[in-house]
Every structure is written in C-alpha cells, then in structure tokens.
Amino acid sequence: MTQPLLIVDGLSVEYQTRAGRTRAVNDVSFSLGKSETLGIVGESGSGKSTLGLSLIGLVPFPGKIVEGKVFLDGEEVLKLKKNELRNLRGTRVCYIFQDPMTSLNPVKKIGDHFVEVIRTHQPTVTKVEALERASKLLKDVGIQAERISDYPHQLSGGMRQRVMIALAIALNPSVVVADEPTTALDVIVQAKILDLLNSLRDSYGMALILITHDLSIVLERSDRIMVMYAGQVAEYAPSRVLYEQPQHPYTIGLLQSIPNIELTDQKLEAITGQPPDLLNLPGGCRFWPRCKFAFDRCHKEDPPLYKSGKDRVVRCFLFDEGGAKP
C-alpha cells in the first residue's frame, strides 16, 4: 500500500447528556488507501455512525470530538476552520445517509439538488452546465436523464438511493462514507446499489467506508473490516482472515449467529445477553457479561488492542502475549 489517503488516529467522541457523559467512540484508529473499502460493522449503539460522522466533523449536538486526529491526504481535518471544513465536505469526503427518503428535499426537483451541490462548491458553474453534469451523473448510476425534472416522491426507494449516490460523487470526492446505504431497501435493490458503489469506487478510485449492521455485506464487499462493540474497536482485520480466523469472541459469536444461505443444516448459535448501556458499562472488558471465554482478568481490567497477527488487532486478553486462541 502506498501513502494512505485517510488516517484516523485515536479518535474519541463523547456525548454529554443529562444522565451523564458517554463515550460513543473510544480511541479508534485506522487508515484507508485509494480504491479500498473499509467495512465498519456493529449493532445499534456501537458508535459506528458517530464514527462516520466525526470523520467530517459532523457529530450532532451534544456530541463532541474529545481526542484524536483525522488526516486526509496529509491535511489535518479536525483543525480546519468551519468554512474550510464545509468546503471539504462534498468535494473531498462525502456522506451517503441511510434514509434516502428524508435526505432529499421533497419540494425540490432532482436536478435542482445537483445544481445546489455543484454551485455551492463551484460558484462559477452555470445552472445549465450543472444540469448537464447532473444528467451525466444520473446516467452513471443507471437512471434515465429525463428523471432530472422529477420530484423525489416520484422515484422508488432504490432510485432515490441512486440519486443520493450520484449527488455524493458529483464533485469527485476521494472518500465516500456510506452509512447503512441499503438498510431500507429490498435485497435485489440492495445488491444492485452495492454493485454500483463497487464499480464507482473502481472507476473513480475512491476510498469507500461502508457502515452497516450486516456482517454478510461487509464480508462480501470490503477489503478490511472493523468490528465495533459498545464504542470500541473489538477487532480490526482484513476480511478474509476475519472470516477464516475470527479472534474476538464477539466476532466469533456474530459469525455463528448469521444464517448463511449457501450452507445446509446450519446450526446457529445465539450470543447470550444484551449489548451494554453506554451510561452503565460493566467494569473491565465491555463484552465480558456475554463472553463464553471470560475469566477473572476480564472483569477487572479494560483490555487494550493487542496486535494479534499481520495487519490485525483485537481487544481481548486471550491475545495478551500471543495467548492461546479461543
């Protein structure tokens, strides 16, 4: 890998609520190169969306980035001024939200969305030129150019998500963050949208961050996978090794609990218990109350990330000093 495009170093985000302060994202680091896909997988409340938003300084109030650095092409993103940051969003890092229904303006035509995005960042472009670019972009994502004068409600869910993707790539960003881009969609549409993201990634050389709760999707579509649990990185590894030799008990549990359509007579095993309340975390490792392998030390100390092989880290005491594999 050459010089990575995006480097995230020790990022932590906190939410200050009336009930107390919670760390939704705790000390997350990773790097991402051109044309690479990183899959971030976790349950609701694991901090995966907050992590995605914090990369472009968009953490919603009352959240605050309390520690860490984000470098994009060597430039420190979180030190940028407000207007510089605004400039960076859209042109260099783009965010695709989960719900295409609520992220398009219902009283604006599809074309006007493009005009707005393009002209905000490039004021010298005329409206006509922007619309021309819009119809080309729509064609790229597989929508007929006539649809440019439709309103969002006239499009199906899958088409709306395609419009969101076209808007995201309108200014040729180098990093695209897709936050549950297919959760609201049917399987066939989901497969098509993911195919589209893959092919755009290859043809534009973008780096893609795919945030989802569905481990099957990231196993199939990404180069590397970060498994998040209760705000922390539980395991971070290349997809293939993660699949063949999962190390963290949570990853192992997840892999055993998802049905695989290619297997017959699969026996699924459930992970017991519930994800913890971030305001009321168990002492020690955040996963121990649900862990089959937990021992004394897990209740007392918070495990750090151990380097457990080439290119991979895991947050589990079983890997302290190359400890035995579960």
């Binding site: 088409m159 399987v187 066939i188 098509k192 569905d214 099957s216 695989n260 519930q274």
Partner: protein, 337 residues
C-alpha cells in the same frame, strides 16, 4: 414433514384489492376506479406443526396475506379454511372464538405495545378479553408465560413499561402475549427484522423451541431468505400479489425454477469473502401494483422473457413432486437454463 400431516389452514384463490383514493375532481370526471391488487389469486395449504414461510420483497403482498388469514382485513375474493371450517365470512362472537386459536406477532415491537400500559397488563389483556382469567390467576399465568419466553424473573418485567425494555425483550414480550391464549396457529410478520443482529438468533431459536412445546404452527413472513432457509419447512415466494414458486425448503434453495426466485437468491449477501459474486440480472424496479403487467407479471424484468409471456398468465404447475412454479419455461423443461 410428511405429506399426510393434516392441514390446519387452506387458502383458495384469495384476493385483496384496495381501492385507490381519488380526489373529488377526479371522482366527478371519471368513473373507472383503480385498485392496488395487493393479493391476487393466492392459494396454499399450511400443514399442522410446520413452519410455512411467505417470502418476497416489500409490496409483494406477504403481509396482507398474513392479515387476511387472521381476518384482520377481509378478502375481496376467495376462501379461507381453518381446521377444515370455512372462516371467510365469520363475524362477531364466532370470530372472537376463532382468534383464540390464531394469533399474530408483529414486526415492530415498539409500535405493537401500548406505551402507557405495563408489560404485565398488556400480556395479560387477551385473557380478560376472552374472559379466561382475572386477578391472581391472570397474574400467575402472565408470570409463567413471561418466564417461558426468557423474561426471567417475570416479577421484574410485569411492572415495566415498554420503553424500559430493549427491542429484543419487547419482542419476547410480544411472543408471550401471542402465546397466552395457547393458540394453535401463529402468524409471525417479520418478527426479527427490527432486532439487533446479535439478538436475532436467540429470538428465532425461542420460536423454534416454543413450536415444539406448544405444538404450534407458524405462518412466517419475511423478506430475508437466509432466515427463511434456517427456519422454514416450506416456502412460498411471492411477487406482486402472486405466488411464483412454492415448495419444500430444500427444493427452493437447491433447485429454484422461477427466474425471480433465482434472482432473489443471487442477491442475498453471503458472509464469505471468498465467494465470487454474480451481478444481478434483473431489469428495472418492481412495477406498480396498480398497473400490473399483462400476462406473466414478472416478464418486464425477466431475462428469459419471450413474446408469449406478455400474453398468457402462467399457472402454478407442479415441476417435481411438491414443488410448484408459475413460469412458462417450466412447461418446456429443455429451455429452462
């Protein structure tokens, strides 16, 4: 499941058309009415003790079929038999009697509980509605069923409000509520799709356990074929209000016949980075249920479509024992792939 097992539910040529509301002006100007054909001539049999799955994408009519079976909406046409008796036009007291035997688990455990009602009261309410138990006896039954579905100790959960529980616990409570009348037949409409991945398997395993203990039959409704494969005995794949393929689980997954089933199976993500992915070959989006294409309703998106597909609607025919498909290709096996 042997073929001789007694049937518990039979549905014949079931139809449900919802009228499309028009504006006042349109009503004055035109006379023809439009309908959303949510369920259009669906027939199937559910055998006692099995898990029969209706699978398909949103808008294919699977949920409406589930509601029709429970008489939560009344059909436009067709007949429903439960335990051999025609229940299509049951009303009032007889219908209420019947509902003791058939219950439903809804998709959204947040929306299916009254937020101002304690879990114990909500779970026990069916007992009062049917006049089966009150007071201390009701409480005892509620505690028993809560503990059976894994909400232990029941004492701790009866006085909670729905918002004080997690999604998984709420769905367990919903299962408890559907079981308290000791029904024979349960319609489960996407019971795990709103639940976190790590908790799904536990809910599904609970449903499988309960089937054994209570001798239940499930009509399972899902869009997720991976879950359908794990849980079901037989599967019916629906497309735009019609069943396009129906058969034993193994037949559907190892030998899918209908092009739509094939596309659906190919689109499912497989948790395996080694797998070479085939790209989807379906053209376009699902057509509107108001303007259903002529002939085979799938022909607008089908790679194998020929001229006759748009003219004649294919019937559901048996392609091998107990495996049915509605596709013109199956009538000429040499061209089918």
């Amino acid at each position: 499941m042997s073929a001789e097992s007694a049937e518990i539910l039979r549905v014949e040529h079931l139809q449900k058309y919802f009228p499309v509301e028009k504006s006042f002006l349109e009503k004055m100007l035109t006379r023809n009415r439009h309908f959303v054909k949510a369920v259009d001539d669906v027939s199937f049999i559910v055998r006692r003790g099995e898990i029969f799955t209706l699978a398909g994408e949103s808008g294919c009519g699977k949920t409406t079929t589930g509601k029709l079976v429970l008489k939560l909406v009344s059909p436009t046409g067709g007949k429903i038999f439960f335990d051999g008796a025609d229940i299509t036009s049951l009303k009032g007291k007889q219908l209420r009697e019947l509902r003791r035997k058939m219950q439903m688990i809804f998709q959204d455990p947040y929306a299916s509980f009254n937020p101002r009602m304690k879990i114990g009261d909500a779970v026990g309410q069916p007992l009062e509605v049917h006049g089966l138990a009150k007071g201390a006896e009701k409480r005892k039954k509620v505690l028993e069923i809560l503990e059976r579905v894994g909400l232990c100790p029941g004492q701790k959960f009866v006085d909670l409000f729905p918002h004080q529980m997690s999604g998984g616990q709420r769905q367990r409570a919903a299962i408890a509520r559907s079981l308290i009348l000791q029904p024979e037949f349960i319609v489960a409409d996407e019971p795990v799709s709103m639940i976190d991945v790590s908790l799904r398997t536990a809910i599904i395993d609970l449903m499988l356990d309960l089937r054994k203990d209570f001798g239940l039959t499930y009509l399972f409704i899902t869009h997720d074929l991976a879950i359908a494969k794990y849980i079901s005995d037989r599967i019916a794949v629906m497309y735009l209000g019609k069943i396009v393929e129906l058969g034993d689980k193994d037949a559907i997954f190892s030998n899918p016949v209908h092009p739509y089933t094939k596309a659906l199976l190919a689109a499912i993500p497989v948790p395996n980075p080694e797998r070479k992915r085939k790209t989807t070959e379906l053209i376009g989006d699902v057509p509107s249920a108001i303007n259903i294409p002529s002939g085979c309703r799938f022909h607008t998106r089908c790679r194998y479509a020929e001229k006759s597909c748009s003219e004649k609607e294919p019937a559901l025919v048996e392609v091998e024992p107990n495996h049915f498909a509605a596709c013109i290709l199956t009538e000429k096996p040499d061209t089918a792939e």
